[in-house]
């Protein structure tokens, strides 16, 4: 590139000083200048190219330094007149047109100043340039760092054989080859980084930094998403016999640069024939580097992946469109619509696809790998066919969330109870990626069932315990008819063994025997109902009848302890729906408690008041008030607590069971001290709804 004429002319130049120009002393000033500053030697070879020049021309420093300044002129003839006047005058000022990296041209107002060495010989030329505003594509962002190109100088010599193979391939076949990731990877793995600028190092250098990037395969640092683009461009320019025309592509955004433009060109000089320059332009969305973002995304993914909650990402965009169309066409009730178009559910089951799953989901659903679950969602709802419909209806109705327990058959054939929670996208969100969380509640439900069983056993134990407390009374109750039977039987025998048997008497007594036997049998039946654990069975009952029955259990206790009973049943009581045995248990428990309270007290009055009442507003109540010592104030709050007992011998579960039974019937129970003294217990139950006529 040497120009003997220019070089000889330059010798006549005097040493020029004045304008601030990058020298060995402080190049940073020029790095930060907003004006384009270029230094080239007398042969035209570019020695320095500041970031503002990168922005002005698009060419990166790495690509520009070492090139000849003449390469950049749009009309390749750099007028020798200008050179001459420059070298003669020591400075030149004018407007020139230069090529930009994106293939356009720019008109630039430049000032060129010749610098001399201490001997007074011309050494190089410093050019200051600024766009005159007429050029297209001029980048004039005030925040230079965000706009500076990331530039790369790459050495493709390691991939020579690969490139030669490609250059022999017909162009049509080339695109096919490029679709093979192996090929791309190989090319980029054998292409070494010769140099990168700070921006490239910042964006993708990760922790390595510029120094450690040099010498590495470009593949190591280039974002995976656009590796294909880079490989294709490298292959293009490296195999282009015609020259160094830059090639430009716009890859998809990799998350750091908005609308990135990748420009690749080949070194022109012979010694740089394997050199490929890459410039990546584009505005950064934020100042974090690609790997930083990648790392935070990876951390996020890792977090999701290792979350103890099973997560599925679902693409429901197709069904979203269908539902939107249905809404537009006037469908308001999706349930009704599905009744006439049941195929919509099947359709949804097949077009809604699981696109991503985490490790917990894989484990939960019995897959070997995530790929096992990347499929239409239908399998998730196979064991609960109505669930797909409910999810769809919830979404159609604009609900934001959906949560329900469903049965899921895993890939291993196991059936699980799973709590499914989904959050639907809000209507304008066309990017329809729904996250579904699954929680295995099989064990929880099993535990709940066990707990319910335990509660039932507990209630049963309490009942048995109550029966135990009532044993004397019960024995008496059964003994009465048995005694009558024995006596009547013996009397009958005496009449029969007379010389003239009194058969009329025998008949009469036998009838009484039968009646007493029936009575005994009924008592035993009642006891058995209390003692045997039957599944609760709710029927329509009259509370007054249940109270009468319960009183039968304690009648003799009341009498034996000389307790006066005042029973005031409300004759107009509404029926209730309840389990007879459970309700009996509640009332017997309350009765036994009251009887014991009265017996333990030393009051002269030994009285039990029982009242039933219908409040006329859908509630039926039972109140029992005893003349005992009442409940200590500090016990009032916890009297229904498990194992709370003021009785030394009591199991302390009677009132707990009472409360649990009353509550399970939709009622409530309260304990209080009566203003007249003694304790009062009152429970209320909802009246049965009148049956529709």
């Amino acid at each position: 590139m040497g120009n003997p004429m220019v070089e000889s002319a330059a010798r006549h130049l005097s040493h020029t000083r004045g304008d601030a120009a990058p020298g060995s002393s402080d190049p940073e000033l020029a790095d930060h200048a907003s004006e384009s500053i270029i230094v080239f030697d007398l042969a035209g070879k570019i020695r320095y190219w500041n970031p503002a020049s990168e922005r002005l021309y698009g060419w990166t420093a790495i690509g520009a330094v070492g090139r000849n300044i003449e390469d950049l002129y749009s009309n390749e003839a750099f007028h020798s007149k200008d050179w001459r006047s420059l070298l003669q005058e020591g400075r030149w000022q004018g407007v020139i047109r230069r090529r930009t990296s994106w293939g356009g041209h720019i008109t630039v107002a430049v000032r060129q100043i010749v610098r001399c060495n201490p001997e007074g010989q011309p050494r190089d030329v410093v050019e200051y340039g600024a766009s005159d505003g007429t050029g297209a594509g001029t980048l004039q962002d005030p925040a230079p760092h965000r706009l500076a190109a990331a530039s790369w100088e790459l050495d493709t010599s390691g991939a020579r054989s690969l490139l030669e193979a490609i250059s022999l391939t017909p162009r049509q076949a080339m695109s096919e080859r490029l679709e093979q990731p192996d090929w791309t990877d190989q090319l980029l793995a054998h292409t070494r980084i010769v140099d990168v600028n700070e921006r490239a190092a910042h964006l993708v250098g990760a922790y390595a930094g510029r120094a450690r990037m040099i010498g590495q395969a470009v593949r190591t640092f280039w974002p995976p998403e656009s590796r294909g683009v880079l490989a294709e461009l490298i292959a293009d320019v490296a195999t282009d016999r015609l020259g160094d025309m830059p090639r430009t592509r716009r890859p998809a955004s990799d998350g750091i640069l908005r609308d990135p433009i990748v420009t690749v060109w080949r070194g022109k000089a012979l010694e740089r024939s394997h050199t490929v320059f890459v410039a990546v332009n584009g505005e950064a969305d934020d100042d974090r580097s690609f790997w930083y973002l990648r790392a935070s995304e990876q951390r996020y993914r890792n977090l999701i992946h290792h979350l103890p909650t099973a997560l599925l990402q679902v693409d429901a965009s197709r069904i979203g469109l269908v539902l939107a169309e249905l809404k537009d066409s006037g469908v308001r009730d999706l349930n009704a619509y599905i009744d006439t178009h049941p195929e919509l559910v099947d359709f949804a089951n097949n077009v809604v696809r699981i696109t991503e799953v985490n490790q917990k989901a894989v484990t939960l659903l019995g897959g070997a790998a995530p790929a096992d679950l990347i499929r239409p969602i239908s399998f998730l709802f196979a064991a609960s066919p109505d669930m797909a419909r409910r999810v769809m209806v919830a979404r159609f109705e604009g609900k934001r969330n959906f949560a329900e327990i469903l049965k899921v058959r895993t890939l291993g054939g196991e059936t699980l109870d799973v709590q499914l929670s989904a959050t639907f996208p809000a209507p304008p969100e066309m990017l329809d990626r729904t996250l579904i969380a699954l929680e295995d509640v099989t064990e929880t439900l099993r535990t709940e069932r066990r707990l319910r069983q335990l509660e039932a056993d507990f209630a049963h134990a309490a009942r048995i315990s109550t029966l135990g407390e009532l044993a004397t009374s019960i024995a008496h109750e059964v003994n009465q008819p048995l005694s009558a039977i024995v006596t009547n039987g013996e009397t009958s025998l005496r009449w029969l063994t007379r010389d003239i048997p009194n058969l009329a008497k025998v008949e009469q007594l036998t009838a009484r025997i039968v009646a007493s036997a029936r009575r005994a049998s009924e008592i035993i039946h009642r006891l058995r109902a209390m003692a045997v654990r039957d599944a609760p069975e709710r029927t329509t009952l009259h509370l007054n009848e249940v109270v009468e029955e319960a009183l039968l259990f304690v009648r003799h206790d009341l009498e034996a302890r000389s307790i006066e009973l005042s029973l005031k049943p409300d004759a107009g009581l509404s029926p209730i729906v309840a389990d007879r045995v459970q309700l009996q248990q509640v009332i017997v428990n309350l009765l036994v408690n009251s009887i014991q309270a009265i017996s333990n007290g030393d009051r002269a009055v030994r009285k039990l008041d029982i009242v039933t009442r219908d409040d006329g507003a859908g509630s039926v109540s039972f109140a029992i008030h005893d003349s005992g010592p009442g409940i200590a104030d500090e016990d009032l709050d916890r009297i229904f607590d498990s194992f709370f007992s003021t009785k030394s011998a009591g199991m302390g579960i009677g009132l707990t069971i009472c409360k649990s039974i009353v509550t399970s019937h939709g009622g409530s129970i309260v304990a209080s001290n009566h203003p007249d003294g003694g304790a009062q217990f009152e429970f209320a139950l909802p009246a049965a709804l009148p049956e529709a006529a």
């Binding site: 003994n479 009397t491 005496r494 008497k505 009484r512 007493s516």
Partner: protein, 135 residues
């Protein structure tokens, strides 16, 4: 012929009261049954009844209280307690109050008969039954 002895029965249980009445009739006694001690007491005049058979556990005045009242009123009428209460303490209290016999339900008719014979024999010698005095 003889004037039949009249036995009073106090028991709140209908079936038991009726069964006892029938048994006493077959033994040849006349009897009157009461479901409450109170009604017995109001019917009880001096010498109205030759013997009382009473339950212990009853609403209102119980058997023991009835015994106590009779004794404190100076009655020497023999009283037989018939109950399903097997508690020895109750039995002791009944005997202390002057019960002639303490029988538990269900009754053996023979034992009731012996008890009655014994009680009536000691009480006034009006007994004319076919049993033997309680030894």
């Amino acid at each position: 012929m003889f004037d039949p002895l009249t036995i009073a029965i106090v028991d709140d249980d209908d079936a038991m009261r009726e069964a006892l009445s029938e048994l006493l009739q077959v033994f040849g006694f006349t009897c009157r049954a009461f479901d409450r001690a109170e009604s017995f007491l109001s019917a009880h005049g001096s010498g109205s009844f030759d013997c009382l058979i009473t339950d212990i556990r009853m609403p209102g005045i119980g058997g023991l209280e009835l015994l106590r009242r009779l004794r404190s009123a100076g009655s020497t009428m023999p009283v037989i307690v018939v109950t399903s209460y097997t508690d020895p303490a109750v039995r002791e209290r009944a005997m202390d109050c002057g019960a002639r016999a303490y029988l538990t339900k269900p009754l053996a008719d023979e034992i009731l008969l012996h008890s009655l014979e014994s009680a009536l024999g000691e009480g006034g010698g009006r007994f004319d039954g076919d049993g033997q005095p309680n030894g």
